[in-house]
């Protein structure tokens, strides 16, 4: 037996990945179902020990990518490596991966302990060792005392933990989770997210997590892969994805965003000057390649990057308050504005004072509060 991770006894079996490549590596992997391209030429490195989230709308190809890594599907083209070994042709039962299914897929004819022991039995470990690992793993997911229940006798959250324990008990090289929390209510989901992150850190297991919930992705991930229509749109840390989206789709899918009509003034190396009303803003030039100065652009700016224009501020645009919505910690202020592509602007205020200060119908001037924004060429509609 190799060294054990301090307390848990669940070790991360892994040969060091070859030459600084990803621990899980996809190279130009494509998968079609008839005419549907579920995944197109995906190239991706998952780093050892990280939580990488696949984020995207339903039908984007997230499950397909996960199934390809698990070996449940064979790619039409491309190669997959795990821990430096090519696994493209390796069947799932020899890949040493842990999978958490959306519906948990617990074996209904086995007790909790037998479910968790299943992978260990398949590895023909000696009985005492199986018993020890089962106990350790159940302790890890805080399920001690439920060993002899059957899955039907457990709540949704408990079933989830059993499924996690079953996947972790085999010390998988990679842990795959497909929208594991989507069936749980909001409070439970939050605490399960935290707990998963804690367990993942403790074990250091390389994890690929699938979700269509952007806030879950932002809070849980080391890095996020945005997938839509079978293509990888952007890979980056949550901060990068939220603050510096490189594609229009990413900017509008992740987080709330205002899309304002603006104009490109000039491009200066990596930065582009954007004029919006009387205000000027520097944004990354990368997303505006091919745009000439003077061209109309669309500025994607987060609600928290906007504020009320005060005297001396350069006004970006104006709008009329059309609705407030109280969110507990803050108030969302909705403005009707010509400057926005959708005709609506969303702003945020901490506290509740905004409701009294700017009743519906008030005309207000908006300024940029920060410089975090990205611009894309105006859509040709």
């Amino acid at each position: 037996m190799k060294n054990r991770a301090e307390t848990s006894g669940i070790e991360q079996k892994s040969a060091p990945p070859a030459g600084g490549q990803g621990f899980v590596r996809l190279e130009g992997v494509s998968k079609r179902f008839g005419d549907v391209v579920a995944l197109h030429e995906a190239t991706l490195d998952v780093r050892r020990g990280e939580i990488l989230t696949l984020l995207g709308p339903s039908g984007g190809g997230k499950t397909t990518l996960l199934n390809l890594v698990a070996g449940f599907l064979l790619p039409d083209s491309g190669a997959i490596h795990i821990a430096g070994q090519p696994v493209t042709e390796v069947p799932p039962y020899r890949r040493e991966i842990g999978v958490l299914f959306q519906n948990y897929a617990l074996f209904p004819h086995m007790s909790v302990a037998a479910n968790v022991a299943y992978g260990l039995r398949m590895r023909r470990l000696p009985r005492p060792e199986i018993a020890r690992k089962v106990a350790e793993t159940l302790a890890l997911v805080r399920l001690v005392g439920l060993e002899n229940r059957t899955p039907r006798q457990l709540s949704g959250g408990q079933q989830q933990r059993v499924a996690l324990a079953r996947a972790l008990a085999i010390s998988p090289k990679v842990l795959l989770l497909d929208e594991p929390f989507s069936a749980l209510d909001k409070n439970l989901r939050g605490s399960m997210q935290l707990e998963l992150k804690e367990i993942q850190r403790k074990l250091g297991v390389t994890t690929i997590f699938v979700t269509h919930d952007q806030s879950e992705a932002l809070s849980l991930s080391d890095r996020i892969v945005v997938l839509s229509e079978g293509r990888i749109r952007q890979v980056g840390t949550p901060g990068e994805i939220y603050r510096r989206p490189t594609e229009r789709f990413v900017a509008s899918f992740v987080g709330d965003v205002n899309v304002l009509r603006a104009r490109l003034e000039e491009v200066d190396g990596e930065a582009a000057q954007i004029a919006i009303g009387a205000a000027k803003l520097a944004v990354p030039a990368g997303t505006l390649r091919g745009c000439a100065p003077g061209a109309p652009v669309e500025l994607f700016i987060r609600p928290e990057q906007l504020r009320l224009a005060e005297t001396g501020d350069e006004t970006a645009c104006e709008g009329v308050v059309s609705a407030h919505s109280y969110q507990g910690g803050h108030v969302d202020l909705h403005l009707a504005s010509e400057a926005a592509v959708s005709g609506r602007i969303l702003m945020r205020w901490p506290g509740t004072e905004a409701i009294a200060r700017w009743p519906v119908g008030t005309r207000i001037a908006v300024a940029c509060a920060g410089t975090e924004a990205v611009a894309f060429p105006a859509s040709p509609s």
């Binding site: 070996g71 039962y93 074996f107 398949m122 085999i170």
Partner: protein, 272 residues
Amino acid sequence: MRKPRVSTWGGVAGAVVVAAILAFVLLPGFVVMIAAFNARAILSFPPESWSWRWFAKALAYDDFRAGFRNGLIVTGWASTIALLVGAAFAFVLDRYAFPLKRTIEGVLLAPLVIPHFTIGLGFLILAAELGATRGFAVVVACHVVLVLPFVLRSVYISLRSLDQRLELAAASLGAPPGRVLTTVTIPLLAPGLVSGWLFAAILSFNEFTASLFVTAQRTQTLPVAMYNYVREYADPSMAALSVMYIVATAIILIIANLFLGLGKVLNVEESR
């Protein structure tokens, strides 16, 4: 779900109708049961005096004893073979796409449409051709064809309701295909397999029409023996045999129900 409420009069009328239907369904069985205890050697209702002697006679009658034994042999073989063949076909139908799938499915379910006497006659002609009219083989083969659709259906329904993600989960945990089959698929299909077998066994044991064609003196099953008996005699030993029949079937179903649940035995239960 909430059911719509019924007025009191509607409720009473409903209860009467239900009771009438139940009585109608149970009436023949009830009449025969009573007739079995008639002390006199006639099939009459209601009897004037009572006795167990027809039970003793039925149990001692050689043709019935042989018929019972033959029936068990035929039923055992036929439902087991039908289960193996039917389960394999159900598996293939559920898991694979192939040309003529619909057609093959149709052919396998055809015995539901073709009358039993046609199937019996067909096997009789074939057996005569092969010179095998006196053996068990033709009886068993005939019964396999008769019960196959029921087994196929029973296993197919169970397979459809089996969540294939359970098999994927097992595979991801390191189970090669053979072990997935033995540790996950078959245990979860067990109720469907047992109910399929049981259903086939009951059908086969009771089958008369086709059996009349394909059995010989040496291989005749209990229903055929009873038919031959009733052509010559009309005493209550037939009724006594019926009572034993009903009791035995009921006991088997009760046992199956204890282990599987009646919904599963009859395969009418929605699975989760």
